[in-house]
Symmetry: C2
Subunit: 629 residues, 2 copies
């Protein structure tokens, strides 16, 4: 089968842009500098970044009036595609144009845009996104850097009160950054107004640190050593009043604070919400790297032979072993699922941030999706790339075979742009809030069957494929039908049912928080809450897969995607079948048949493994590896 038909489905809405960027990547392919010293690697990335600045790519996400492309989704997609290549380069570009440039665009106003955007796009002004502090990562609201407004001078004074408030892990800080968007507690008239962002020059033209700015180097890291992560400490650094990125909050000359959003909390979350693009981009980059790792492992698994088959006298290709298939094929299926979920997420982002009037509910939904898919996709990356490396044995341990770099570089994805565990809690919190909103009196829950039925509409918001899915669910066979395992409606119902049940249970447990020691109640239920979030994300991801199949017009590709989706679903159920058994959703016999069905699907898809990874359409130069020569 020709992989192109699958590629078309995977490419989705930004197919033309993907084709263009892939062609550019293939044309300007480079040899990744494995084993380079930190300094050499940083210099290499800087050079490549400068070349990248010359292509149109970094401009996609910026407003047209300043020379940008006005294509938010396209900017994320272009970033994702960089994930097929050197990931330091991808991350560095994300810091410059996504985080730094994005903050100026989204938190700043016209004066900032006019002054800076063009210089940011063409890399004349390299910058940092200085949010995280040594002592505060996930808990951004409690950052401790201060920005005190001095009305006499008309300036903000940026200060790092102690080492815990030092800006840490800041990309672009150790070597290249000239300016930083610094997140700090704004204080004016003696009153704290919460976290705001300020433009602070950190280096002068000659690359020397500005007065009062102390710059440290995070040094060697597990991976991404081409990115110059550093530390910033501010000793009473003065910046003009204009340095405040004032879209959501401003300080008048006399120090009067004003904001279109009254509540400090809401303002803070609105600000953070606009920065969601970074999180979505990381998920996409992680998926690209996973695709590359799996493509390499499949190619090696198809040529590597070990142990003689006594029946044929030939040594067996390792991908013909069930254990090897079980390592790679469910991982490929899950990668397809996440790829489709990511594509849908980018579309939603594009439509919401591109629209004029963002309704809060949609924005909240987007943030929840972004958090959930980022967590699940990056954990999947860590696990699958590890599996891919092990599947290549000793060869997988050599830098010349790419996998070590992929593993080390993506490792941090699970904890940056939001720690995954914290993100899943955010997802759960959102679900529980919708839940509460939908049923004001939660005490009726336990008895009201009605509630359970309404639940799906109220909380389980269906994704793009709403209608398709309703049709599938309605047509689903009863639980005892033996064909049910491969019935999409049955599968979706099972995922929905799990989500609903786990969430209901968590809600019931948390109600007690109102009564006793809230922390203890929440903490004791933490595993339950995380499980609820995971069940939710799994359902969202499945629905995206269903929608993608529905879009597919090529019959052969569709049939193939149907099998891949089955493998995604059934391996997911297999991993979690204890839950389904415990809650009477699967009988023992059915649970065992899930395991058998996964084996069967591995066998069926084995001959198509190469097609499935070829369909990712990774530019061929990035699939060069010594072990494949």
């Amino acid at each position: 089968m020709n992989p192109d038909a699958l590629t078309n489905v995977l490419d989705g809405r930004w197919a033309p842009l993907r084709r263009e960027v892939r062609a550019q990547l293939a044309e300007h392919a480079y040899d990744e500098p494995y084993g380079a010293s930190t300094e050499d690697y940083r210099a290499w990335v800087w050079d490549k970044l400068s070349l990248l600045a010359k292509t149109g790519q970094p401009r996609y996400g910026f407003a047209r009036e300043y020379g940008g492309g006005g294509d938010i989704g396209g900017s994320v997609v272009a970033f994702e595609l960089l994930g097929y290549g050197d990931l330091s380069l991808m991350v560095k570009s994300g810091v410059q144009w996504g985080l730094f440039g994005g903050a100026v665009q989204l938190l700043g106003t016209k004066k900032h845009h006019e002054r800076y955007l063009a210089r940011i796009m063409d890399l004349e002004l390299p910058g940092c996104f200085a949010m995280t502090e040594t002592g505060h990562g996930s808990d951004v609201q409690h950052l401790r850097t201060t920005a005190n407004y001095d009305p006499q001078a008309g300036q903000f004074v940026i200060n790092t009160p102690d080492v815990g408030a030092r800006k840490d892990y800041i990309g672009n800080a150790a070597r290249d950054g000239r300016m930083a968007v610094v997140f700090a507690q704004l204080v004016t008239g003696g009153e704290s107004r919460g976290v705001h962002a300020f433009l602070v020059p950190i280096r002068d033209e000659r690359g020397e640190a500005m007065p009062g700015v102390e710059i440290g180097d995070c040094g060697r890291k597990a991976g991404l050593n081409g990115v110059d992560n550093g530390r910033l400490t501010f000793h009473g650094v003065r910046v003009p009043r204009d340095a405040l990125l004032n879209r959501y909050g401003d300080v008048a000359e006399d120090g009067t604070y004003s904001s279109p959003i009254e509540s400090d909390g809401r303002r803070f979350f609105t600000m953070l919400g606009t920065l969601i693009r970074g999180r979505i981009s990381v998920a996409g980059g992680g998926i690209s790297a996973t695709e590359r790792a799996l493509a390499l492992a499949v190619r090696y698994g198809e040529r590597r032979r070990q142990f003689e088959n006594p029946g044929t006298g030939q040594e067996t290709v390792v991908l013909d072993y069930l254990a090897h298939q079980r390592k790679l094929l469910p991982a490929i299926a899950t990668t397809y699922a996440l790829h489709f979920a990511q594509e849908e997420l980018v579309r939603t982002l594009h439509d919401i941030q591109g629209g004029d009037d963002v309704d809060e509910r949609s924005q909240r939904e987007l943030e929840s999706r972004a958090a959930g898919i980022k967590a699940v996709a990056t954990w999947h990356a860590t696990k699958s790339i590890q599996t891919a490396r092990e599947a290549c044995g000793g060869a997988g341990y050599l830098a010349a075979n790419v996998l070590p770099t992929l593993k080390a570089d993506t490792d941090v994805f699970t904890t940056f742009e939001g720690d995954n565990t914290v993100l899943l809690q955010l997802v759960a919190k959102g679900l529980l809030t919708s839940y509460r909103d939908a049923f004001h009196d939660m005490s009726t829950l336990a008895t009201a069957r009605l509630v359970a039925e309404q639940f799906v509409d109220a909380v389980i918001e269906r994704t793009a494929a709403r209608k398709v899915i309703e049709r599938l669910v309605d047509a689903a066979p009863g639980r005892d039908d033996d064909d049910a395992l491969h019935d999409r409606g049955w599968q979706v119902s099972l995922f929905e049912d799990r989500e609903k049940h786990v969430l209901e249970g968590a809600a019931r447990r948390l109600r007690r928080a109102a009564e006793g020691d809230a922390f203890t109640v929440f903490n004791d239920a933490q595993d339950h809450v995380l499980r609820a979030a995971k069940a939710h994300v799994d359902r969202v991801v499945l629905e995206a897969f269903v929608a993608a199949i529905d879009r597919c017009e090529d019959a052969e590709a569709r049939a193939m995607l149907d099998q891949v989706c089955d493998l995604y679903v059934l391996s997911n159920i297999e991993d979690d079948r204890a839950w389904f058994l415990e809650h009477g959703r699967l009988t023992s016999a059915r649970a065992k048949s899930v395991v058998a069905a996964v084996n069967e699907l591995c066998k069926k898809l084995r001959p198509h493994a190469r097609t499935l990874v070829d369909a990712f359409a990774i530019p061929e130069p990035f699939l060069r590896a010594e072990m494949l020569e």
Copy 2:
């Protein structure tokens, strides 16, 4: 509680040696060269290796008559302890003294010992262990390097027929090795005699490659970059007849082959079996690195705070979160279990290889244990070190905090010294063979209840703690008793029952192999077979834990170990509870209570987390990290 009492139990039989080596490590502590170039790192390791040669440690494993310590177990223990420090140094020492020196000692005879052992011990003769080829790793029996005997010259001619037969990933080859133990197919009189080992000089005194020896460099790797892995290609290299390590097979001057073991197959496996020490050492090194990673993560988890507890107004120490405890505490409990299993394994190795007359059954049992524990321990290392790094967030990604190096260095442990998947199959094969030996006619199986009862004695050989365990099992409460979860006898019975049932099922499936296409039948059952091996290893590990508790005389330590053992068992059951549910071993209610019990144990052990990792007694200099300053 004072951790010393726990340390005493962990230290086991080689406690005095452990204390001595730990003191040495602490005294000669070094700063690990994070981020060094490959060349600098290799030079650094060489220097440290030379210092190590001056201590008595490398001598432990060699025969006293040549200046060794005659303490096989001690040599493994000393190696394990190096696992608290730089792992390139550990692996390089393993290559020199364990693999290279070990092969000369165990496969060679007096002439080789006299000529080489002293020079190997003091590092005057650095050497390699050249077994793996580019095309053959796990399948050693089909290596393709040849050693043809030329009776005219009285020499062997070593040849690499093609690139697939090139020796690959060979430690000590790229930079330092002067000699290599080369595994090759011995051919004499036109007849192939299977794989034998030959001493082949690869570099002269000035470090130049010997004539006919082509030396390549594997280059940068994921980790262990202080070890100079290389490639060796032999172009008709001639070595004298004496170069054959001739303990198990010899060639007379005229080319006549002789061996104390007639069967080529048995001879091969006997030779390999003597080399089991390397595999056991890797398991131990992996466990040490895991202990170090967990100790670092616990220390950080106890000081890192994030998010305010609304009840107290204080930020919460992250180790107080259930999700964080669930990441680290079950991993610590499993590490304890594996530590004890490893200690028992080393004792068995010591007693068997130190004895004069090795009975084949014990040797086979040792090999199976070694394979199983190596697979389980190194996968545990990969997973737990990853978890530890994620538990430290961004800090865990910085080289200055050690975890990235631990992750990258240990990563290859899952695939070297035997690919884990292949090793577990070896374990299963051994079990199935014992099974067949015990019941000649497997067809009676399905009906004979008697057989099932005899099974435990015949196949499930109990470990050191036989009597204790029988007593516990006999006293175990019935399945419905609510206290059963914490009853050791019930736990052991559950593990035994699982092992027996999975193994029986696998045996039944494989019987069909005699009928149909053997490869297909075996392959279709591969996941089942691997599961049988895993269930077996889990039981062996649990019994080692039970034996350790039984040895412990300190009441407080014993009570603590009891809880840790509970957590090991219950988190193991939790992970596998789908199986227990599917097979009617646990009711839904009981399965849910297992999850609750794990949460409860995490909470109970939380205040002792630091004590538990302190008890590993890792030399303090190796627990220095920037994040702990």
